[in-house]
């Protein structure tokens, strides 16, 4: 029998705010244990939570970016359970009225080849709600210590419908959410820092069956590759169980990314009764149209939208676009360089091939790179004008990356500029090129404009590269369009 997997993901995203969600103390990662605490975070007797509006702003913005409906009221509930990392032994969360309802996440599956766009799908969301993060337990021999620095960090939980069917889809889903959240400035989504965490609900059913099978919750998928591997493992495990005549038990399993194996954590019977009820310490907050409109205006274009626009407006290849759009800063950088240079494809190539290589090699970042879009644009123009040959331009690039000087300055200083070809000489080469390519000539005359490219290589070769492509183009057109 053929089986189909049904996968739903619960993704926790830490929201990047200056302070915690219900306390005035700062939020952050990597501080000395228990330094980001105050009486409220530690749940000392008598303390009360007060909502940080920035956290609510962020989740509403996230919801708007993902096309969710925003609830008119932000209501808070208590989720009651005992655990040493939870200072109050209840978590302030949202139960029956999540702040965001519905929405979808656009994903792209791997294409047939690296340079071809894959299939796009839209994974529907059930809800997004806001809650507070808990602290962190550190286990030592005979002792466990709690660090409450993380406790009270704003956290949103993005719950998908059970609408994915492969580990690849889940992987693509998580990748897309991650990019979207980074785009919106909502989170840095660093999985190593726990800023993005994922649990998966997985079931299988015979292909063609519409009823859902018994689901297993897989926890601790703490890296994007663990998500893919863990889900693939779980699907295999369930198929093997059914094929050997066994059954799937509803349970929660813990995935160990190191061993690639999952283990049962608790069964359905051991499930918690969280005794949710409205938190009497927090008043519901009204979210009106003006509030939503303000945040809507802050929503950036999403990565896939941008990719479609880049490919259409700038005529850049899919591979270049898919490098550019997943990093918002990089895509902004590209757009500026594209506009300044007037040559988006050339600018895109310099950025994706040379700039990223140099940044990677020097362990720098785009932010601190001395090469700004204006440098790229000037470089593109020098090459396009025939003043810099490809090899020379590469040398200029490396120097410019190191010094931040403009490319023209470097080329002059290092005498790298090519002497421009003599106009008469150029025209002669063009005539020779036309004479040598009758096929291209007849194609061009019958209206195939691109046939002109057939002459250009000849001319450039004759000029030993020391001619401006622009000038070659102009000269060729002048000759081709002249009555013969």
């Amino acid at each position: 029998m053929k089986y189909e997997a049904v996968i739903g993901l619960e993704v926790h995203v830490q929201i990047k705010t200056h302070s915690k969600i219900f306390a005035r103390v700062g939020a952050g990662y990597g501080h000395e244990p228990n330094t980001l605490t105050d009486p409220v975070v530690l749940a000392l007797p008598g303390t009360l939570p007060v909502m940080n509006k920035a956290a609510l702003d962020a989740v509403i913005k996230a919801g708007l970016m993902l096309g969710c409906e925003i609830a008119p009221l932000c209501k808070w509930d208590r989720k009651n359970y005992f655990y040493p990392d939870s200072p109050k032994n209840y978590q302030i969360s949202q139960y029956d009225q999540p702040i965001c309802v519905g929405g979808e996440v656009e994903i792209e599956l791997p294409g047939p080849a690296r340079n071809l766009m894959g299939e796009h799908k839209r994974i529907p969301l059930t809800r997004i709600h806001l809650e507070e993060d808990v602290g962190k337990l550190n286990h030592f021999a005979g002792d466990s210590l709690v660090d409450f620095n993380r406790a009270g960090t704003p956290l949103m939980e993005i719950v998908s419908e059970p609408a994915m069917h492969t580990a690849e889809e889940a992987f693509a889903y998580l990748t897309s959410i991650r990019a979207t959240m980074i785009y919106g400035g909502i989170s840095d989504c660093d999985m190593e820092k726990g800023q993005l965490r994922c649990d998966a609900n997985i079931s299988i059913r015979p292909v063609g069956e519409t009823k859902l099978g018994t689901k297993v919750e897989l926890k601790n998928l703490n890296s994007i590759s663990f998500v893919r591997d863990g889900i693939a493992y779980e699907i295999r495990r369930q198929v093997a169980a059914l094929e050997s005549g066994g059954i799937i038990v509803q349970e929660t399993r813990d995935y160990d990314g190191q061993t690639g194996v999952s283990q049962s954590l608790r069964s359905k019977e051991m499930a918690h009764d969280y005794r949710y009820f409205p938190d009497p310490d927090l008043m519901p907050v009204k979210v009106d149209e003006a509030w939503k409109a303000r945040l809507k205006a802050e929503c950036p274009e999403l990565p896939f939208q941008k990719q479609r626009r880049f490919i259409e407006a700038y005529q850049i290849p899919y591979t270049i676009s898919s490098v550019l759009v997943w990093d918002k800063d990089l895509s902004d950088y590209f757009e500026e360089a594209a506009k300044l240079s007037g040559k988006p494809q050339a600018a895109g190539n310099w950025i994706v091939n040379d700039l990223l290589r140099e940044i990677g090699a020097s362990k720098a970042s785009l932010e601190v790179s001395r090469v700004r879009p204006a440098h790229i644009a000037d470089l593109v123009k020098l090459v396009d004008g025939g003043q810099l040959l490809t090899a020379a331009a590469r040398e200029v690039f490396i120097e410019m990356f190191a010094t931040g000087e403009m490319p023209g300055v470097i080329a002059d200083r290092k005498s790298l500029k090519a002497a421009p070809a003599d106009a008469g000489e150029l025209e002669q080469w063009c005539r020779e090129a036309i004479a040598a390519n009758p096929k291209s000539l007849s194609d061009f005359k019958t209206g195939k404009d691109s046939a002109i490219n057939g002459f250009k290589g000849f001319v450039m070769k004759a000029a030993k590269g020391k001619a401006s492509p622009k000038l070659i183009d102009e000269t060729l057109r002048k000759l081709l369009n002249a009555p013969m």
Binding site: P45, G46, L48, N80, R275
Partner: protein, 490 residues
């Protein structure tokens, strides 16, 4: 015969301090001496810090000498129920769980009173975590009624009421979740005010039932209660449930209302005068009604038809909230930690079993039950609906009346140990619970004594945020009587 300093009201002491007839240090020393003389019998204090109080008094005198006195409360020793946080002082909730806990921060009311120059004086006993009506549920000691030491002072703020009645403080703060200020005020013969929910910040008050808890003052006179209220009321950015609206100067506003000689319309809810009401209490309240009539007030019968559900609704909502509020006492970060525990689950079980008393456990279990999956709708959700009806009852009544008049407690102070049945104890709050469920202000003022010499309290219930009018109505009664000038012989 001149009254001892420790029995004088704030308004009078403020004059003496202002005139420098008495210094804050002298006043504080008098209060300390009185406490030392009587508290072994009254047992109102869990602890007090004499040196700290005297240092505060000296600072007050220094301010005054420099012409920088902060107002009428500057130099007045005010006692704190041991659920209200004072930085550097114990905060025990009269529970073994917090027996050794010292709070590192000030509650908002504490900060406000300190800003007004008041001296924070002592930690006052209560029923553990404010759960009870007799102050017998304290893990440390049972407080006694100063009028009859064999009787209870009421609760849960029994220490606050008894200390004031016994002259061990000039005013005190308590908290009221179902009557915990008004009932002990009535049983100890002092004024006790429970403000509108949201008027006074709860930040720094150990939560029992968050949607019902309010901090309020105990005072010798209505005037004093007004002074304390205006010092502690007002919006607090640290408490989301505190209401952002301007706070009047209650002490001036209530006198302005009195001067207007408005004809107050007072409602008498027939449901509050039925079975279970002690005849002497009933008679005293009837006399109070007669007094208001004689002052030209309109007396109207009103109906609060859902009154009978009050106690039931209260014990669902309050226990549900407390089961969650008290979850933080787990022995992990602070508080009692069992030395016997084998693992973390065992640590929870043992620490909480050892740290909490029987009544607290009973309520946590009840609250856990009513919130459980499958029971939530039948209990908690339904109780919330009835709560809305109870509030609506009051708001309907206020279409015809300015305030509602009832007994505060069905009986005067009962004997210690008399109400060992929890249900009998719960019924002590039958007249006070509705006010909390509806979020209204209520005040208890002394309105006579039983034949056995025990104080009786009159409860006046006001409209939301109309404390000034409520105080004016209470002040009208107090002005025609001298109950507040009687003091227990200790």
């Amino acid at each position: 015969m001149s009254t001892e300093l420790f029995f004088k009201p704030v308004t009078e002491l403020a004059g003496l301090l202002e005139a420098k007839t008495v210094s804050a240090v002298e006043l504080t020393k008098a209060v300390i001496a009185r406490t030392k003389a009587v508290d072994a019998r009254v047992k109102a204090f869990n602890s007090y810090d004499e040196a700290d109080a005297l240092a505060q008094a000296e600072a007050s005198d220094t301010r005054r000498a420099a012409g920088q006195a902060r107002g009428l409360l500057d130099g007045i020793p005010v006692g704190f129920k041991d659920v209200i946080s004072v930085a550097g002082q114990p905060l025990t909730a009269s529970s073994r769980m917090l027996a050794n806990f010292v709070s590192p921060y000030d509650a908002t009311v504490t900060r406000k009173l300190k800003d007004a120059g008041a001296i924070s004086w002592g930690r006052l006993n209560l029923d553990e975590f404010a759960m009870g009506s007799s102050t017998e549920n304290s893990a440390f000691q049972a407080t006694c009624n100063p009028w009859d030491l064999s009787r209870v002072p009421g609760g849960s703020s029994g220490g606050s009421a008894a200390a004031l009645a016994a002259g061990e403080a000039i005013a005190t703060l308590g908290s009221d979740t179902g009557g915990s200020i008004r009932q002990p005020a009535a049983l100890c013969g002092v004024v006790g005010l429970k403000p509108t929910y949201g008027l006074v910040s709860r930040y720094g008050l150990i939560a029992f039932a968050s949607s019902l808890d309010q901090i309020g003052p105990f005072a010798r006179t209505v005037d004093d209660a007004a002074l304390l209220l205006e010092a502690i009321a007002g919006h607090d950015p640290l408490d989301s449930t505190s209401v952002n609206r301007p706070v009047p100067r209650y002490s001036e506003e209530m006198h302005r209302i009195r001067r207007e000689k408005k004809v107050f319309r007072l409602g008498i809810p027939k449901e509050y005068f039925g079975e279970g009401l002690d005849p002497e209490v009933g008679a005293a309240v009837e006399k109070a009604i007669g007094f208001y009539k004689s002052q030209g007030c309109e007396i109207r019968e009103v109906s609060l038809p859902h009154t009978e559900y009050g106690v039931g609704v209260y014990y669902i909502i309050a226990t549900a909230e407390c089961s969650s509020n008290l979850a933080r006492y787990d022995g992990i970060r602070y508080g009692h930690r069992s030395k016997e525990a084998k693992d973390v689950v065992d640590l929870y079980f043992k620490s909480r079993a050892e740290g909490f008393g029987a009544e607290v456990k009973r309520r946590i279990i009840l609250g856990t039950y009513v919130l459980s999956s499958g029971y939530y709708d039948a209990f908690y959700l339904r109780a919330q609906k009835v709560r809305t009806l109870i509030r609506q009852d009051f708001l309907n009544a206020y279409k015809d009346v300015d305030a509602i008049l009832t007994p505060t407690s069905p009986t005067p102070a009962f004997r210690a140990g008399d109400k060992s049945d929890p249900l009998a104890m719960y019924l002590c709050d039958v007249y006070t619970i509705g006010v909390n469920l509806a979020g209204l202000p209520g005040i208890s003022v002394p309105c006579g004594f039983s034949s056995g010499g025990l104080p009786i309290g009159l409860q006046l219930i006001g409209q939301p945020f109309k404390e000034a009018e409520l105080l004016a109505i209470a002040d009208l009664y107090e002005g025609g009587h001298d109950w507040q000038r009687r003091h227990p012989k200790l």
